[in-house]
Amino acid sequence: MTAWQIVILASIVCVALKVAGYLIPPKAFEHPTVARIANLMTVALLAALIGVQTLGVGQAIQVDARVPAVLVAAVLYALRVPFVVVVIAAALVAAGIRMLT
């Protein structure tokens, strides 16, 4: 697939999902189990992405400067530091460690 095909197809699917909620009768999604799974799906995907982004290199697992950077980010989020500041701090921690090692 080309990058444009991926970008356009994924965008269409995401817009369709938003539109769907305004079109379908609400009853179809009233079941609490369905709502719970949808909520947990978001959590599972984000957590898996964090893992892959922190430790993955292609198909290998590698512990490097990203790990301390993400730990710093977790501490900063716990201290209620704003998102953008945390993201920049994480980048700086990783870049700093790479410069020194």
């Binding site: 909520n39 893992g51 993955g56």
Partner: protein
């Protein structure tokens, strides 16, 4: 519209909508930078913010592309779609607030995201809920697209990802999206289990797939309501 004075509730909704809108719009910088560093060009990056316009899915798409390249395209699309499913529930909740009318609903659908729904549902009167939704959604739409462009141009200039620590920034960005959802034991359990599953499968499966399989944790835990509020599990 002109003749009626805004109620205190509507003014409160307007204020919180603008505050949340401005704060969220700034994330666009990180999205724009990370998207170009994942291999997309500036136009593709801006297309995502203009059309897809749902932060979690946008970050997921570029995250999978960054680790797996264009070959991981189907997995990237599926990740974005699965993360976008929560918007279906947001739309259902917003439909009565928005009211009838094709164009109004079409515009509302595009602006239905975490933040606009959160601000809207936090308001106490129906009119304030409407104001909260539209103000938040529009503020974020404008801001997010502007900052995406700025971030994409910055990312385009920066070049090599890892040298600048931007791969770690992407992980930190996902963590920021996850953080507010970790209040209950059930979500904490799912987060840990999904991360472990994704890690265990990374050496075995092609890039992108481990994330999708890890989403199955939500099916199992949600379907059987493990670690739920009533369960009293350890």
């Amino acid at each position: 519209m002109m003749a009626t004075q805004r109620t205190p509730e509507e003014r409160a909704a307007l204020r919180s909508g603008l505050a949340v809108g401005l704060a969220t719009a700034v994330y666009g910088i990180s999205f724009g930078a990370l998207a170009t560093l994942s291999g997309l060009d500036v136009w593709q990056t801006c297309f995502l913010s203009l059309v897809m316009f749902t932060g979690g899915s946008q970050f997921a798409l570029i995250g999978v592309l960054a680790s797996g390249g264009l070959a991981a395209g189907p997995a990237a699309i599926t990740s974005a779609a699965l993360l976008g499913t929560r918007n279906v529930f947001y739309s259902i909740r917003m439909a009565p607030v928005i009211g009838p009318g094709f164009w109004r609903r079409a515009a509302a659908a595009q602006l239905t995201i975490d933040e606009s729904v959160a601000v809207s549902t936090a308001q106490t009167t129906p009119s304030a809920q409407r104001v909260g939704f539209w103000v938040t959604g529009l503020a974020i739409y404008l801001g997010w697209n502007l900052t995406t462009l700025v971030g994409a141009l910055i990312g385009d200039l920066l070049g090599d990802v890892s040298a600048y620590g931007l791969d770690a920034a992407a992980a930190a960005a996902f963590l920021g999206l996850l953080w507010p959802r970790l209040k209950e034991r059930q979500t904490q359990a799912v987060a840990v289990a999904a991360a472990v599953v994704a890690m265990l499968l990374t050496p075995v499966l092609v890039p992108g797939l481990p994330v999708l399989v890890a989403a199955g944790v939500a099916l199992v835990v949600g379907g059987f309501n493990l670690f739920g509020a009533k369960g009293g599990h350890a």
